[in-house]
């Protein structure tokens, strides 16, 4: 389980992005963070993966304080992070990236499995270079596959995985998320506005203006999330510091 306690974070210029955010991401459950653009969702994901360090507050993984750990150590401890904007490399192939994530040589069948989950045909892609020759959607899917291939993952964070993915591939991805959650008992944290992802979630947190505005079980949050009343109320709703 991943636990965030009273996390605050500001930009170098001092602008507050997150303030006093507390969340629990339980094992074997899918938590979706949603909310308006610019609310601090991606910043929260980066803080979890160690790309940024909080100004205050602590982060715990299975009870261990990992706040001061760097990205490498967090990754080795089981935290995976799929970037919202995929990174391109001149020279590194899809196979390279997936094998780096898995920390071993992968059989073609394994590569096929990871790429199949994001709707890509392995034979066409394993030797492709992860560079500008890939479309935005292809790069995004490979980015997600690199996290699915991660060795000994405990907590997987996906930042808007639906972006650039077609409906058919998206169905495969939904299946992969459910399998990770149910069969492999991973903690999943997905930043998304996509209704189908919200529908398969266990918990939903709405983050706006750097605060957790709403937090609860899907059955409680989802019915009202997109209602007119909620859409207006959410960003200005009552703060909560309760964990899930």
């Amino acid at each position: 389980m991943l636990e965030l306690k009273n996390i605050s974070w500001s930009l170098p210029g001092g602008e507050k992005i997150l303030e006093n955010v507390s969340l629990e991401i339980p094992s074997g459950k899918l938590t979706v963070i949603t909310g308006p653009n610019g609310g601090g969702k991606t910043s929260l994901a980066k803080l979890i993966a160690g790309l940024e360090q909080p100004d205050s507050g602590r982060i715990f993984l299975d009870g261990e304080d990992i706040t001061d750990w760097d990205m490498t150590k967090r990754s080795l401890s089981g935290i995976g992070y799929a970037f919202q904007q995929p990174v391109r490399f001149k020279g590194l192939t899809v196979r390279d990236l997936l094998e780096l994530a898995a920390m071993r040589t992968l059989e073609e069948s394994e590569l096929c499995d990871y790429l199949g989950k994001v709707g890509l045909c392995a034979q066409e892609y394993i030797d492709r270079v992860v560079d500008a020759s890939l479309s935005g959607g292809e790069a995004k899917r490979i980015e997600i596959a690199s996290v699915l291939a991660k060795k000994d993952a405990k907590v997987l964070v996906f930042d808007e995985p639906e972006a650039g993915i077609d409906l058919w591939s998206f169905s495969s991805l939904i299946d992969a998320f459910e399998k990770l959650k149910v069969t492999e008992h991973k903690s999943l944290l997905i930043i998304s506005h996509q209704e189908r992802i919200l529908e398969i979630s266990d918990y939903i947190a709405v983050i706006a203006d750097g605060h957790v505005r709403t937090l609860g079980e899907k059955s409680e949050i989802l019915p009202t999330l997109f209602s007119e009343e909620k859409a207006v109320r959410c960003p200005l709703g009552k703060d909560t510091e309760e964990g899930i």
């Binding site: 990205m71 020279g91 192939t93 780096l100 994530a101």
Partner: protein, 306 residues
């Protein structure tokens, strides 16, 4: 054959105790082994040190190896190798050079290669350079390549300088006839106080000829590299020159691609990009569990391989 030669051969020409087919091994300025094949004849030049290699028209799928090694200091090896590739032949030429010195004397190899490709001939030319040894003497490799390409011929040059060469000056010139295609993939890694200069001069003389030069380099430590390419299009032709360099530490690179279009239908492009490794690339690999240093190594490895 010297043990150092065997080690160098393993690195630069995939030597595993023997070569299949035609070959000539040059060791410290002398011939350490030679074999011709039914289709590839290797002879010594009569007017200068070096070889004349005749590849018969229509030769298909054969490989000829002509590696050169310098295994100790105080050797300045100069060699002239001429390759005549017959019409319609399709072959691989593996060159490669290793220089080694364990003392204070310089070790240098200067290979001047001339390729004359007949009509429709296809050649993959592979050349790997490395410097080894703990001596303070300079390890130098200064290759010169001159290419004349007849109608519809194709030459792919795959060159790589791995490490340890203190100074390298590479000059490549080519003249392309109608429909001829030249593809150059150059990869270069310098470190410490090494310097490397590479200079391409390609003249497109026949309609529908084309050249594609892609140079990828990494300059680390206090090393310095220069890249210059000139593509002259005097006909309906295409030309592309790309220099892509990564800087690390205090590495420096000077890139100067040059184009000349002497015909309305010449289509020429050059690109040059120099910069450090993008931070987001390192971060991505760190999120996969690599340290910053491991991430840099992996990115450079891929960059030079690709």
């Amino acid at each position: 054959m010297d043990k150092t030669t065997e080690e160098l051969l393993g690195i630069v020409s995939d030597w595993s105790g023997k070569f299949q087919g035609a070959y000539n091994i040059r060791e410290n300025g002398a011939c350490a082994g030679r074999q011709s094949s039914a289709n590839i004849q290797i002879d010594s030049k009569t007017d200068a040190p070096g070889l004349v290699i005749h590849i018969k028209p229509g030769t298909m799928g054969e490989t000829v190896y002509i590696p050169a090694c310098v295994t100790h200091g105080d050797i300045d090896d100069l060699v002239y190798n001429d390759f005549y590739v017959g019409e319609g032949a399709d072959v691989i030429i593996v060159a490669g050079c290793g220089v080694h010195t364990d003392d204070g004397h310089d070790a240098r190899h200067n290979g001047i290669h001339r390729f004359i490709l007949g009509k429709g001939a296809r050649v993959l030319y592979k050349e790997k350079h490395i410097g080894t040894g703990s001596g303070t003497g300079m390890k130098r490799i200064d290759p010169v390549t001159d290419v004349i390409m007849d109608e519809d011929s194709y030459l792919e040059m795959d060159t790589i300088q791995i490490s340890g060469v203190d100074s390298s000056i590479r000059k490549t010139s080519a003249k392309l006839g109608k429909g001829a295609k030249l593809v150059v993939k150059e990869r270069l890694l310098t470190d410490g106080t090494e310097t490397a200069s590479t200079d391409f001069d390609v003249v497109l003389e026949g309609d529908d000829s084309g050249v594609d030069i892609v140079s990828r380099s990494v300059a680390r430590g206090n090393s310095y590299q220069e890249y210059h390419s000139k593509i002259s299009g005097n006909c309906r032709c295409t030309g592309h020159s790309e220099c892509d360099a990564i800087l690390a530490d205090n590495g420096r690179v000077n890139a100067a691609p040059e184009l000349f279009a002497g015909n309305l239908d010449a289509s020429l492009i050059h690109e040059a990009a120099i910069g450090k490794i993008a931070g987001e690339q390192i971060v991505k690999l760190q999120t996969l569990g690599l340290t910053e240093q491991q991430a840099e190594e992996k990115i450079i490895e891929g960059f030079l391989r690709g």
